[in-house]
Symmetry: C2
Subunit: 691 residues, 2 copies
């Protein structure tokens, strides 16, 4: 229907903008009204309540109703903010503004709403809702209150600082808008992280696996300790100058190092995707950012768990350190194992049942199994978010191939939507919380120190590691790539969620306030400057399909030798995966009867699906996504063409280094046609050229 | 890929069943282990806690962690139950067992798990977690507890009966598995109801609108009062015989009548859909069940709100009755208006922006706007579930036409999935709660009375109303249809959610227990007997596309005159909708410049999209889903063919009675080709004939 619009194009552009402006106004007004109305009804109802104090039962019911109404209104504020963000970001995309990503915009709207809530709305202090104090000797999870012969049940929400007691009574409105930090870990982060894992499957990720693991594991640990040490120096200086208003231990500094080491270059990756930047750079950045979230999360909890025995709990002690280190390994490997295990179970179930005939059931099963990973890990005391990440990677690598094409689309789209909503929710909440959080501690010296430390920490991660990796890599990480990776060290959702998780002590409050500023700065400044940085570093963009020698912006990069670029680690993994794991878990790959030793023949026959056996017979059958490799270059190229059409629907390309080895110099052409990046199917790289 | 399977068919069937059995065992074991493990770790941790009682802070943290771990484990039980349900139901569909629907199966698994939790797992009573009592004069929403100089925050959860106080301390495990009833209204029901509204759009719904409204509004009220009166008689009898253990007022009886008047024939509709039963019967049943949920919900809250002044709050008083009636009207119309308003706003936004270029943004906006209806209604004191229903209908009727085809699929599939998950969750919870709910009151006399009353109430709804409607309908509701509607009066999610919402008093507890039995019986017995009932009543099935005169089971039904079957109400509505609403809210319909009087020309030009204007010029353009009616029969038939391909992707058919009037006897053929039922695209009507 596109041609139809050409008639009213000019007018419709103006109309659209006008309508959008009206909508923005309506939304903002509505938000304000909602806040005001809900606070007013609350007050009004309380007056009513005082009249008929005889009927205690109704009062309690009304209170619960009122609280629910208030909750709805609070959530509505965020829904409206997100709606506004969507409309505005559409306008930006429509007009091709690339300097502001939706997450940055969500933060801005959050900030505005925070200002309105903080200064625009005055909620009268209400006596009847004021909290009472009760002296007890213990703090059970459930408390029974006997009031005039009736029993009421209370649940423990948490400890609050002595200085906040007055705030609790004072500012109900702002407190209401503040979510329980665990919401981030239990509801918002899992879909984001799972989606990251689920889109991580690509040949380029596995080809750069060694480097990615080095950046994510070694790099994050280096960054954490560099930042921790620098901050400790800064804190010592502050203490000398009398600028410190509370305790700040070395473990706190390390904790800060861990939380700000989780990078989240979602803005940068979106632009990379749109401009079709070099796939290796994309894979390095994306892979690193996905994995280092997991590392930073486990690292921070290990640091918190560092508890030397005895009274002085902040001295150095080898045993406690070893315990922390063991905990890091235990939690990480446990979560990893759990995540992979659920992924494998899902792959087996989808392989050996014919659920694919019923797409709804298939999608539901996929969703439930992925969610159960999270719950299982949490119930076992591991880290759900980490488990979900590895579950996502496993699902993408194996289960995805067993799903029906409809379910492949459905699951992709479902998690894409959940990711989008959760991410923008977190970022708008981030903006909001700058004004609504009640115990900010902004210390200029700490903030400056943190910015310097974050910069140096990132540098200490990227440059030395790149140097070391380049010693072993055939396909070197060039210096402009290194600068770009340095620049793309944005902080985002994970950093925020980790820093807001615990804001009980002075140190944590200062960290939280500083972290917020770090996130704001990196998202707006680094995110906004990505296109400038790309052209400044002369990084090749527009690595387009079919026509690799098309005119691109970055002229400086030359063709690299792609032959034998795969590292030994990758080769080892690839062979095992291709010969054993893929045939066991999916319908693709060579039949197990061919790869397993003869002694395992019965088992092999049991596990090999009829499809795999048939694939062996009729090798040209390309309706199934098996690895049709190990044949001559002609078939490969044919298959490559088929892969393009699959990619358009968000499906996955094959991982087959053998073919690359065989094709040699054709690889660069091939790579263009096979490039599949996340969100590929949702956002056309360029908007309609007529506007 | 289907042909490939023919080789290993027999073997793969056996393998599948074997694998499934293994999986079921694994799941059940895992569920048990999860429960046991989580209860054990809880105990073990408590022992640890006692050792280092010095460190209060850590203890509190550990408690919160423990509670979170337990929550995860509890939720995991349900996820596993749902997974199991999905696998089993797949096997049933695969083998074409129609006697058990997934909801019935979910209940069975829930029951089994309930038995395991109740009798299989013994959680030792732990002292340290026991609740304390504290005497206060008021019950604020937030409570501060001062324990050893530290402040802890508690939130009010609700009142509990004096006899439950010991239970609270006793059976933590069972209490944990019990969800807050508001979860149903705030999280699980909204997607179910929205999905119902979103799938309600069909020509056949609007054609039978008068009858549907009569059944849903008048019928539900009749049913409510008939059941209420019968139950009051039953309760009086019980009182005389000394079988009543507590108060049971007339308002309680009416409340019971309201909650069991909400029908939910999801099982029956699934079978209808699969067997392609007569579309009018489908429309009547589906339309009634969707709307009467809303009526029953508002009715029950109006009955609860009936509060005569003075001390004796259970006498009859005209003013209180009028107030209740006014409340019914107010809440219903308010929720209706809000739902329609958000739907209209979404339609306008999607019409006047070109969000359709970015499907992710479009889907996210659609989702957020639909959700905001719920929150807005709740925040304003209306009923969110009712608002969501009408929002869904509006979205389907208008917004859906403005969405891009991808987003049409995405939104359909998203809500289909949410509906599936929420529905099965509720039904499995229903099964579970029969054993885990702590205050069941099973009274044989009340139960028998309730079953009789439910039966008679349904009869008093269907038969008299059908008689009256038949006086006005040209297309009569035949007696076998009436029997089928009587039989299809299943009770489901809404009835359960309403009955579990408040179980504080003796009367409510008895109602809850009885309601559970009513739901179990109707879902298993009536749901399971649907195919038998269909053939027994000789109802035509297999109303298939293209070949209307194909062999069908129900031979008894003859062709009805379809000419002029549309009622005046429908005609009035159709004209208004077609001439004004559709052109304003979507790109289809005649341009407003043609339908509005000349004085409104500037406004009409502003609101008419270029697409609509073009449609007028080139009337044969069928890429857009405008109502291409008012032309001769030839074009209609062509267009009919086009509509079939649209329907296959879950899109909507057109509502155009004029064409039916023009086509006359061809209508029956047409109807076959246009028949679109919900879930059409997800579940192929017949499984692969080769199995």
């Amino acid at each position: 229907m596109a041609p139809k619009w050409t008639v009213g194009r000019g007018r419709s552009g103006a109309t659209t903008t006008r309508w959008l402006l009206v909508l923005v106004c309506v939304c903002v007004c509505a938000c304000g009204c909602v806040c005001r109305a809900s606070s007013q009804t609350q007050h009004q109802h309380q007056e009513e309540e005082e009249e008929d104090s005889a009927n205690e039962n109704i009062v309690t019911e009304k209170k619960a109703e009122e609280s629910h109404r208030q909750d709805s209104a609070d959530l509505l504020i965020f829904i409206m903010l997100l709606t506004l963000t969507i409309l505005t970001i559409w306008l930006f995309k429509h007009r091709r503004f690339r300097f502001l990503h939706e997450t940055g915009l969500a933060m801005i709207y959050g900030l505005l709403m925070g200002v309105v809530l903080r200064y625009g709305i005055h909620v009268p202090r209400d006596i009847s809702n004021a909290t009472l104090s009760c002296h007890l000797n213990a703090t059970p999870a459930t408390l029974l209150i006997n009031s005039k012969g009736k029993f009421y049940e209370y649940t423990l929400k948490g400890e609050i600082g002595a200085n906040e007691v007055n705030d609790v009574q004072d500012n109900e409105m702002l407190r209401k808008v503040t979510f329980d930090p665990e919401v981030f870990f239990n509801i918002l982060l899992p879909p984001i992280i799972f989606h990251a894992g689920y889109s991580l499957k690509r040949r380029h990720f596995f080809r750069n696996m060694g480097s990615i693991l080095a950046y994510a594991f070694l790099g994050t640990v280096i960054s954490c300790f560099v930042i921790g040490l620098l901050m400790y120096g800064c804190v010592m200086l502050m203490k000398k100058m009398g600028q410190l208003g509370g305790d700040f231990f070395f473990t706190d500094c390390l904790f800060f190092g861990a939380i700000v080491s989780a990078t989240d270059p979602v803005t940068v990756l979106a632009i990379f995707n749109e401009l079709q930047v070099d796939v290796d750079l994309y894979a390095l950045l994306f892979g690193e950012s996905v994995l280092n979230d997991a590392v930073a999360l486990v690292l921070s909890s290990s640091i918190v768990a560092y508890q030397p025995e005895g009274d002085n709990s902040h001295t150095f002690e080898v045993m406690a350190l070893l315990k922390s280190f063991g905990m890091f390994l235990g939690i990480f490997s446990g979560s990893f194992a759990l995540g992979v295990a659920t992924g494998v179970v899902t792959a087996l179930v989808t392989k050996f049942t014919k659920l694919r005939d019923f797409q709804l059931l298939e999608t539901a099963l996929f969703f439930l199994m992925s969610w159960s990973t999270f719950l299982l890990a949490e119930a076992c005391g591991f880290t759900g978010v980490v488990a979900v990440l590895f579950c996502g990677i496993t699902q993408a690598h194996y289960t995805f191939n067993n799903l029906s094409p409809e379910s492949q689309d459905r699951t992709k789209q479902l998690f894409e939507l959940l990711n989008f909503l959760a991410e923008n929710f977190i970022f708008s909440y981030m903006g909001l919380t700058l004004f609504t959080f009640q115990s900010h501690v902004f210390n200029p010296m700490f903030i400056v120190g943190a910015f310097v430390a974050v910069f140096l920490g990132r540098a200490a991660n990227i440059y030395p590691l790149s140097f070391l990796l380049n010693l072993g890599r055939r396909n070197k990480i060039r210096s402009n790539f290194q600068h770009m990776m340095m620049f793309a060290g944005l902080r985002g959702a994970m950093t925020f969620a980790l820093s807001i998780r615990d804001t009980a002590t002075y140190a944590r409050q200062m960290m939280f306030s500083t972290t917020l500023l770090v996130v704001f700065f990196t998202v707006w400044f680094c995110g906004g400057g990505t296109t400038q940085m790309l052209s400044c570093q002369r990084i090749r963009v527009g690595v387009d399909s079919d026509q690799d020698n098309s005119v691109s912006i970055g002229e400086g990069s030359e063709r690299r030798t792609t032959k034998h670029e795969s590292a030994w680690l990758f080769r080892l993994w690839y062979n095992f995966d291709h010969n054993y794991l893929k045939p066991i878990l999916t319908h693709s790959g060579p039949p197990l009867t061919a790869t397993l030793p003869p002694c395992c023949a019965p088992l092999a026959r049991l596990l090999t699906s009829p499809q795999a056996l048939e694939n062996e017979c009729q090798i040209k059958d390309d309706d199934d996504d098996s690895d049709l490799i190990l044949t001559d270059g002609d078939i490969n190229l044919n298959y490559g063409d088929v892969a393009v059409s699959t990619d358009a629907t968000g499906a996955c390309s094959q991982d087959d280094p053998d073919r690359e080895l065989a094709c040699g110099d054709q690889e660069l052409v091939m790579r263009g046609t096979r490039l599949v990046l996340p969100m590929d199917d949702s956002e056309p790289p360029f908007t309609d050229p007529r506007f």
